[in-house]
């Protein structure tokens, strides 16, 4: 019954989306005012019903109801409960329902909370959001029904991919989805404002929290995904430039650009057309990403759920949404382009440069990601790898960081060069100090890491500059947010530079008692012992790492074996052991036993890496997200009211 109920709820929710769209459109075309009153409750109800349907799907996974095809294919009654729940969205249909639920819920949230926009713009926005979700309802109901029953229920399910049984991966996709879908709200706001021609500060202020919110989630999602790939896959890398990674980076870049341009529109009423354009690009990029991942068009080491028919469906949806929005933009752009004027050397000017660089990087990453498809159409099989991306994105990202140094130090509207220079000496000194230190003591360092660490030094100091000489307690939260996020970029950059410049690696076949030197560590291989997990067996190695300063640490990397189910071969995975020190991380992987001629296993493959400052990369990512969150908090109406009330109270207390 649960499955049928879920399906019924989805159909009703789809009907409500249809109602919102039709009522909204009629109202905007001059229909009676009552129609507008329908749109808000319909949007809220649509959100609630879709969420309920998703809840029912989770229930089916929790109960391991194998009569539902999706559960049978992607779950197994032996799985730990948390992964049964996470299995709900660890597959195509479930993740599309999750996507749709977030889309519908955000429509409902706009309907409840948005008070700044004119009524007609709000109705147009909600109608646009309904149109978006309608397309995905069609996609789900006609080509990927998650509640489909099997004629005969199998005794148990198939899905037990051990790699996906990881807490990081369980929560990584929903985080990214919230980010993607948040951009859909920005898209709907842009479409709504284009329809009613209300493009200005009010529209930008309404859109900004959604942009900030989705960007926070995208940042967290990408950071967490990178860390997951690093510790779980055992290859020791943190970014691979794989198409699936790229399609999360591309909307992030669009979001970063939009975040900065929407600030200009909100405070200065400039860059209006550009902000609208970026809002359209942002969501288009998350759709392109979904399309690439779902269609299986690209060679990716982690493509899944490959199905050409679904690809075609998504392509059609994309053509309608992106094409429609761009047409609307072309028709209305003339009437929104003119905004407040500003000089090139000004906060606005630096943000324009920031936007140009971000969109250029976006275009280059997109080009590299899509190029193999184009090449394949012309009969060539090609895959674009890390060397391309490092070459094109690296230099541009460094220039972008330098713009980031200057931008926050410039005033709005117009500034002069002298004033900027007078604020920079500390930052330039920091950069020079890093550069000299690296040249003197760093040994052979590649040009990109060298520049990266130097720029990191400059950005670290300059990012704090907006706080100099200010009363820190009265500094507004958005300023703290900007400072934190920009400082996070410096931390991230320093981590990337140091890791790629100073990484040390050893690969050995070690017998118990052997000592391997890597970096500052002497690592002793003590031995191995078998252990048993909840649904796997493993060999656990014991390594004791000692530093020259006398510290001693035990590391336990594992080689796990998951039994094959229903006739599949058993799978083996590595659990790396990580030792986190202030200066970096020691990374140990236990490989295969090495059998000698007499057949006895006396040695084991061990790979050790010393990765200086590597954890700064994710710390930086977290700081960037925290910065964006501070900025969002500072703009939340509620908090501002609370702050105002508190300061009034404290004034009363100190009044004579």
């Amino acid at each position: 019954m649960i499955a049928e109920l879920g399906l019924a709820l989805l159909w009703i929710a789809a009907a409500l989306a249809c109602l919102s769209l039709v009522a909204g459109t009629l109202f905007l075309r001059g229909g009676p005012k009552d129609l507008a009153a329908l749109v808000r409750p319909a949007s809220v109800a649509q959100g609630v019903l879709t969420a309920a349907a998703f809840g029912l799907l989770i229930a089916l996974f929790v109960r391991s109801d194998m009569s539902v095809e999706l559960v049978a294919r992607n779950s197994n009654s032996l799985k730990p409960m948390i992964f049964k729940v996470a299995g709900t969205w660890g597959n195509h249909e479930g993740s599309m329902l999750l996507w749709l639920m977030i889309l519908s819920l955000s429509g409902g949230l706009i309907a409840i909370f948005e008070k700044r926009l004119r009524e007609d713009t709000l109705v147009a926005t909600l109608a646009a959001q309904a149109a978006l979700s309608l397309g995905f309802f069609a996609f789900l109901l006609f080509s990927s029904n998650p509640f489909k029953r099997l004629p005969v229920a199998p005794p148990d399910g198939q899905g037990l991919n051990p790699l996906l049984q990881d807490i990081g991966l369980a929560f990584h996709p929903p985080t990214l989805y919230v980010g993607y879908v948040g951009l859909s709200v920005a898209f709907s706001f842009a479409v709504g404002a284009l329809i009613t021609r209300e493009i200005g500060p009010a529209f930008a202020r309404a859109m900004r929290p959604w942009v900030l919110g989705s960007w926070i989630f995208l940042t967290l999602g990408i950071t967490a995904g990178s860390y997951w790939a690093y510790y779980e896959l055992g290859w020791g890398g943190w970014w691979f430039w794989d198409p699936v990674e790229n399609v999360s980076l591309i909307p992030w870049l669009a979001g970063a650009a939009l975040l900065h341009s929407v600030a200009v529109t909100a405070t200065r009423n400039a860059l209006r057309a550009w902000t609208v354009m970026l809002a359209v690009i942002g969501f288009s990029m998350s759709m392109v990403g979904t399309f690439i991942v779902r269609s299986g068009l690209l060679t990716s080491v982690h493509s899944f759920a490959v199905d050409p028919e679904r690809g075609t469906f998504l392509l059609a949806l994309m053509a309608i949404y992106i094409g429609g929005a761009l047409t609307l933009f072309a028709l209305r752009a003339g009437s929104v382009a003119e905004g407040k004027k500003f000089a090139l050397l000004s906060r606005e000017g630096s943000l324009v440069i920031n936007n140009l660089l971000l969109t250029t990087i976006l275009a280059l990453v997109l080009l590299g990601t899509l190029y193999p498809i184009v090449a394949e159409a012309m009969g060539e099989k090609i895959s674009v790898g890390p060397p391309y991306y490092n070459k094109v994105a690296g230099p541009l990202a460094l220039i972008l960081c330098l713009v980031m140094v200057a931008g926050p130090l410039l005033g709005w509207r117009k500034d002069d060069g002298k004033r900027l220079w007078s604020r920079l000496p500390m930052a330039i000194f920091a950069g020079a100090a890093v550069l000299f230190a690296l040249i003197l003591f760093g040994g052979k360092v590649g040009i990109l890491p060298l520049l990266g660490m130097t720029v990191a030094g400059i950005v670290a100091v300059a990012s704090l500059a907006p706080l100099w000489g200010r009363n820190l307690r009265r500094t507004p939260l958005p300023t703290w947010g900007m400072v934190t996020a920009h400082f996070g970029v410096a931390v991230c950059l320093a981590g990337m530079g140091a890791e790629s410049a100073f990484i040390k690696e050893r690969l050995v076949a070690a017998a118990p008692g052997d000592v391997v030197k890597v970096g500052d560590f002497a690592v002793k291989f003590v031995g191995v012992k078998p252990i048993a997990g909840p649904n796997y067996t493993a060999i656990e190695g014991t390594l004791v790492a000692t530093t020259s300063s006398g510290g001693s640490f035990t590391m336990r990397p594992e080689a796990r074996t998951f039994p094959g189910l229903m006739g599949t071969a058993p799978t083996e995975t590595n659990e790396a052991a990580l030792l986190t020190r202030p200066g970096g991380q020691l990374y140990a992987v236990l490989g295969q036993p090495v059998t000698s001629d007499d057949g006895s296993a006396d040695r084991y493959q061990i790979r050790l890496w010393w990765k200086p400052l590597v954890w700064w990369i994710w710390l930086g990512g977290a700081l960037i997200a925290i910065g964006a969150a501070l900025s969002l908090l500072g703009r939340a109406q509620l908090l501002n009211i609370w702050r105002a009330r508190r300061s009034r109270k404290s004034q009363e207390r100190f009044a004579p």
């Binding site: 060679t299 080491v301 140009l356 099989k381 895959s383 060397p387 094109v392 690969l507």
Partner: protein, 145 residues
């Protein structure tokens, strides 16, 4: 400065930026795009010795051999039509095994062996490189090719 001039300058800057980025991208694509090769293409003489490339194929059943140093493995990658011997020094990634798809970065050595710098990890046991799509399902190359 007049607004018109300013917009012109901005447009020019943007144009230069885009042109520069285009040139950068084109040259980087020409230099760095690693060619994806399948064994049949390598046998057909499509891959030059020493040229960096990515090889995709299935690990032939029974072909994995460990060398005496305990770190180097040799195996045979096949696409059902042709086979290429592969040599790799290191720990194989998760889900690597006989009769499963694999992708490796590396280059051809003059003796016809593909030397892999890295074998790519994959996230799903059902994964197959799309380039292998034209390969018949469940290829079972004769053991020990």
């Amino acid at each position: 400065m007049k607004a018109k001039h300013q917009r012109l300058i901005l447009a020019l800057v943007a144009l230069c930026g885009i042109a520069g980025a285009g040139v950068l991208a084109a040259s980087a694509l020409r230099d760095e795009a690693a060619y994806f090769r399948t064994p049949v293409e390598i046998q057909g003489g499509k891959a030059a010795v020493g040229e960096p490339m990515r090889l995709g194929g299935m690990v032939t059943k029974g072909s994995i051999q460990r060398q005496a140093d305990g770190l180097t493995i040799r195996f045979v990658a096949t696409d059902g039509k042709a086979s290429v011997p592969v040599e790799y020094k290191g720990i194989v990634p998760d889900l690597f095994g006989e009769e499963s798809g694999m992708v490796a970065d590396g280059r051809m050595r003059a003796d016809g062996t593909f030397v892999a710098d890295r074998i790519l990890a994959k996230h799903d046991e059902r994964y197959m490189p799309p380039q292998m799509g034209d390969m018949p399902k469940n290829v079972k190359a004769p053991a020990g090719v």
